[in-house]
Symmetry: C2
C-alpha cells in the first residue's frame, strides 16, 4: 500500500539506498537532510542534486545551533578525522552525542505535520559496534516511543538494521542504483580521501560485492 | 547526592519551580531554554534574568529553523491564540508536533556532553488531556530510550508528572519562590492578558492556593 513516508537522507550511500528503496516500494517520499555543522556540506549538495533528479520533495534543515550544546565530535569540530575502521577506539571521536535521537525526533515532527506514517532511516549492523543509537535496541525503543508521542502514530523503520553495509550495496546494485551520486568521505575535498574510516568501509563493501566504486579517489 | 543535572527551563511557572527544586536539592544545575520561534520571547528574557540572579549557567538555543518542518501551531504561527481551558478542543491548536521529544533529545545530547546524569522537565497532569508528550507513558518510554541511547545513561525526571499545576504552585510557595519572576501568558504584551488558556490555568492555581498572583494583568 502506498504510504506517505519521510526518509532521513544524508547524501551517503546507505541513506541513498534507503531513499531509492522507499521510492521503488511505491511510497510518496519526502526526503529530509540536516545541516548540523558538518565539516563540509558536500554530502548535502549531492543529496539536493539526487532529489531534484528523482523529483522528490527535499528539505535541508539547518540545526547547527545545536553545536552550542553537543561539542567534541571530529565530524563537527576542529579535531582531525581519524583513519581506520569503525571498530577502533579512535572512531569514537566521530560520535555526536545523541545525534540519531535528535534527527529522528525532528523527522517524526515533520512526519506528524505531513500526516506521514513512517520515518525511514539507514542504520545498519556495521555501526552497532560504535554507535549506540544505531543498535536494534535503540530503534525498537525509539519506535515504541514514536507510536505514542503524538495523536498520530509514527513508525520508525530501518530496513537494513540487521544487514551490513555490504548487504546494502548488494541490494542497491540489484535495484540498479548509480553510486556515483553519493558521497561518503568524512573529508570534503574534490575527490574522496580513501583513508578515513568511512571511505575504507565503502571501499570494502564494493570490493566484497566485486564491483568497482564509480567515485574518484585521491589514492 | 549532588549530581550534575540539565533543567529544561522555559521561563514559565512550572519549569521555574522545577529549576528551583533541583537547586534546593543541591544539584549542580545547567538551565536550557529553546527559542523555537515562539510568537514572543518574553519568557526567554525572564528565564535569562532568573538564571543570572541564581548564578546558574544558562543556554538559549535557537532552533527556530525547525519551523520549516513542523508548522500549524498557534504558538509559532500567525494563528490566533485560543482563549479558554486546556481541556477544550481549541487548545489543540497550541500543539507543536513532537515538541517535547525534540526538546528532550537536545537536552539529553547536552547532558551527555556535560556528563550530567539527569534531565529535569516540568510535565504535569494538567497537560495530560491535551499533550500526548506530557503523559506518564511518554515520559516512561522516553526515559527507557535515554538510558540506552548513548554510552552514558541519562535519566528523564519529571518531578511533577502526577501533580497538577496547583500542586506545583503549592510546592513553590513552600520553597519561598517569587512568581513575579515568571511569565506564563501566550501573548507577549507588557502585562499578561488574563484570558488565554495559559493565563486562566495560572490564575486558577493561585486562586486555589489562596494566594495573589504577583504578576500584573490587563484585566
Amino acid at each position: 500500500m502506498t504510504q506517505k513516508v519521510v526518509v532521513i537522507y544524508s547524501g551517503g550511500m546507505d541513506s541513498f539506498t534507503v531513499l531509492n528503496k522507499a521510492l521503488q516500494e511505491g511510497h510518496d517520499v519526502y526526503a529530509l537532510s540536516f545541516d548540523y555543522g558538518q565539516r563540509h556540506v558536500k554530502e548535502l549538495k549531492v543529496a539536493a542534486q539526487v532529489c531534484e533528479k528523482l523529483n522528490v520533495p527535499h528539505k535541508i534543515v539547518d540545526i547547527s545551533a545545536i553545536n552550542q550544546l553537543i561539542g567534541g565530535s571530529s565530524l563537527t569540530d576542529d579535531i582531525d578525522v581519524p583513519e581506520g575502521h569503525y571498530e577502533e577506539e579512535s572512531m569514537k571521536s566521530t560520535i555526536v552525542p545523541n545525534r540519531n535521537m535528535i534527527l529522528l525526533s525532528l523527522a517524526v515532527g515533520y512526519a506528524v505535520s505531513l500526516k506521514a506514517s513512517q520515518v525511514y532511516y539507514g542504520a545498519h549492523s556495521g555501526d552497532h559496534a560504535i554507535y549506540p543509537d544505531c543498535r536494534p535496541e535503540f530503534v525498537k525503543k525509539m519506535d515504541d516511543l514514536c507510536r505514542i508521542a503524538n495523536y498520530d502514530a509514527v513508525e520508525i523503520f530501518s530496513p537494513y538494521l540487521n544487514n551490513t553495509k555490504i548487504d546494502i550495496l548488494t541490494d542497491g546494485i540489484k535495484m540498479g542504483l548509480d553510486y556515483s551520486q553519493t558521497w561518503t568521505c568524512y573529508n570534503g575535498r574534490e575527490k574522496a580521501c580513501g583513508k578515513c574510516g568511512a571511505c575504507q568501509e565503502r571501499l570494502e563493501a564494493f570490493k566484497l560485492n566485486d564491483v568497482t566504486d564509480p567515485l574518484e579517489y585521491e589514492l
